[in-house]
Symmetry: C2
Subunit: 462 residues, 2 copies
């Protein structure tokens, strides 16, 4: 029995070392024995530890089903390379084991590199599979049609339970799941759903129409994958049927596909909050140049924005020269302003993403963030006052403390408002990255600090 101890890092490490040794020796039967001790998921997790020369024997010696499982999770360019290197018989086995949605993704990837190679692969498929793959290939990768598989089980409402069971016995091995069985009319339009559980409990003579649930939630094939993930997560569905514009059942989406979508979305949001572009970037596989180009655009935009700050500081030259000590607290003030704005934007971006707050709540949010920002500002102003007194700069105590409280209130509201505004424009609130808030808060902060200083210290403007 495999239990948790088999996923224990030390035991996996031992199996991996045995495999590395067998690969170095080139002993086919030892490699097979070592592969038997590992799950496809474990091989994938440690895939980068094997040299590219070893990837080929691994995929050749695995059982066809495990090889297909590993293959379908590799990066697309590696898939294309392997398909050029693998023996034709193994390619045929692999294609036979891949589910239709994975098969379509693979052929799409090969097509980007070489249309001829993709055609060669397609010609190896039986005519029906080929037609299904060509149909699936029409969909965008990030819509329901692009993540669904047509390997569902569908029956008619006049069939009896015993007939459905006979049908299932024949169809089950090829279906992605048999947990939900769909009921369609003569034109293939979705009419209802049967759970396998209901089928098992039912009398064998009962008609499908009597036990099916006609309230079946489905999505259109052009629904975005984020929407699909949201529906499946909210409704706790394990399978979701996909229909075309005529209501005809064209495929199903299973929950494991949706977990991948949710994880991709989380990565995308986290990258954006850190002002990194290209959500599909995989760090360990990216070159220095790829990392540079994923990052440089936002840094340039932000530094151009920050250039206003030197103009502001130069404009207030008189004030800064009159009271040098003002300069000492700039970094503290701007830092605290940026941090406050980051916190409120983080909270609002997440609350918008999970549907906890909406655009129309903006007035209420603004009021709340005014109060929270002011309270936080006063708390930190008291703390900073002690430091200013210790530094012996009591003459500017009031200026710095008032500026800090005002600044934190303003940047706190700014951090909350920007994601809401972006959302109202129909864009993704996660575009408001922490660095963007920090840069905007720097500009705002300098204006607030130096204007308050001018007023309170009665300094003439330049």
């Amino acid at each position: 029995m495999l239990n948790y101890s088999d996923t224990d890092p030390n035991i996996i490490r031992y199996a991996l070392e045995a495999l590395q040794a067998a690969l170095a020796e080139g002993d086919t039967s030892k490699i097979r024995a070592a592969l038997d001790e590992l799950y496809p998921a474990q091989l994938l997790e440690h895939w980068s530890e094997f040299t590219p020369e070893h990837h080929l024997p691994i995929l050749t010696l695995l059982s066809p089903a495990d090889a297909a499982e590993v293959f379908s999770h590799l990066e697309e360019n590696e898939q294309a390379e392997l398909l050029e290197a693998l023996p034709p018989s193994r390619i045929k086995e692999l294609l036979g084991e891949l589910s239709l949605d994975d098969l379509t993704d693979t052929i799409n990837a090969v097509e980007e590199e070489s249309p001829e190679a993709a055609q060669a692969l397609l010609s190896q498929l039986d005519p029906q599979t080929r037609a299904e793959v060509e149909e699936l290939a029409e969909y965008d990768e990030d819509e329901a049609g692009g993540i669904m598989t047509p390997e569902y089980v569908a029956v008619r409402d006049f069939q009896r339970v015993e007939e459905v069971f006979r049908f299932l016995r024949r169809e089950a091995p090829d279906a992605e799941t048999i947990e939900s069985i769909y009921v369609v009319d003569a034109q293939g339009r979705l009419e209802g759903v049967l759970s396998l559980r209901d089928l098992i409990i039912a009398d064998p003579k009962t008609k499908v129409a009597e036990i099916m649930n006609p309230d079946v939630v489905s999505v259109r094939d052009d629904t975005g994958q984020e929407e699909v993930a949201r529906i499946m997560a909210d409704y706790n569905f394990n399978v979701l049927p996909v229909v075309n514009e005529h209501g005809v059942l064209v495929g199903i989406i299973t929950v494991d596909d949706v977990i991948d979508v949710i994880q991709e979305e989380a990565t995308e949001d986290i990258y954006r909050l850190g002002a990194v572009e290209s959500p599909e970037l995989v760090y360990s596989k990216s070159s220095v140049w790829a990392l540079w180009s994923a990052r440089v655009r936002w840094l340039v935009i932000l530094v151009v924005g920050a250039m206003f700050s030197s103009t502001i500081l130069e404009g207030f030259q008189n004030t800064l020269q009159a009271v040098t000590a003002l300069t000492f607290y700039i970094t503290i003030l701007l830092g605290a302003g940026g941090n406050t704005g980051n916190q409120s934007s983080t909270l609002i971006v997440r609350a918008l993403a999970t549907g906890d707050v909406r655009g129309r709540d903006s007035l209420r949010i603004l009021g709340k963030e005014f109060a929270v920002g002011a309270l936080l500002g006063i708390t930190l102003a008291v703390l900073l006052s002690a430091k200013i007194l210790l530094d012996g700069h009591g003459d500017i105590l009031l200026v710095v403390a008032v500026s800090l409280a005002v600044l934190m209130t303003v940047t706190n509201m700014l951090g909350a408002l920007l994601p809401i505004g972006i959302k109202k424009l129909g864009l993704d609130p996660a575009l408001i990255s922490n660095p963007l808030i920090a840069t905007l808060s720097d500009i705002t902060g300098l204006l607030i600090y130096l204007t308050i200083a001018q007023w309170l210290l009665h300094i003439k403007p330049t």
Copy 2:
């Protein structure tokens, strides 16, 4: 048929308005009719739009199954309040419909507020359910035992397929899932797994032992929920069995529970990156004081850290007074340094979370980030040089440009190293928030900038 158009916001909006009107009228049959048009998930999504006085009639008039579905997703304090207000007959129905894991969570929540109320609830359960709930209540909420349910189906290996079907017909209605059927020995120890699919294809006279898969992956009941989520996502499992220290099957975890865990984890990481504590904070339900306390601690830590900056600036007073123009570029430099550090820490935090890089890759990461940081630094230094020349400050061009390139290289490596270091200490790398990187980079940046200025401009230290 419900299809995507039924989850269309406008249609849902219409159904919600009909419900609001019926609730305002207090017409029971109209409320029932309006509730019929909405799914529990839709009610939950718009729950906060209904006044607390309306929550009670909604939960009283929904079908028991839908009421339990809604109830199990409410906040714990609201559950406790409702249990005080609902009529006893409805409470009994609700308790009967809740799955054992949800029931345990609810009773745990009530117990925190009032142990007597929890005892009263427990006394309404039948003895077996009560014993099971009391057993589940022993587990921590964030370990496998706390998210599992004991409502699985288990058979013995000597049983025949036809017997298993008879057993399933009786047990299916109460089981959380029948997709996987577990095989246990006389002591209840997990021996294997049967998929319902294999069972359907098999000859009715076959023995379970012949068709069961003995390679069943299970987790121990004290495995952390993040590890459970990782295993289920990596292995594409829909169900995962949970065993105790003796290998005895004690429950199963289904993939919908894991989706919740993945979303919670993403929220936790995103909050931490924004320096917000208390991952369970729900924005719309939090008071101003709750928000204040979730945020103040990090702001205080960061402002105390930032206080070094005023000491540094005061220490370099001579330099700043000798060349006033140096002050104008402080904000740009520190901003760019912070942004660069945020980008690299974001990439590394995510790469560590997804297992893409590990602690032992640190030298390679450092080399890569040195190169990326230097390239980004040189790019921005060229850009900033144009601005400095336009400002007419050619005399400090070299100081600012060199400082920017050095600073960005250093903060870029700092942003990458800190999460790795934190991980090596056994802590969560997401503790390295963007504001923390920004604050550390401010201190480093000032030291680099002013030291380089002193050297290149030959200014005597104070």
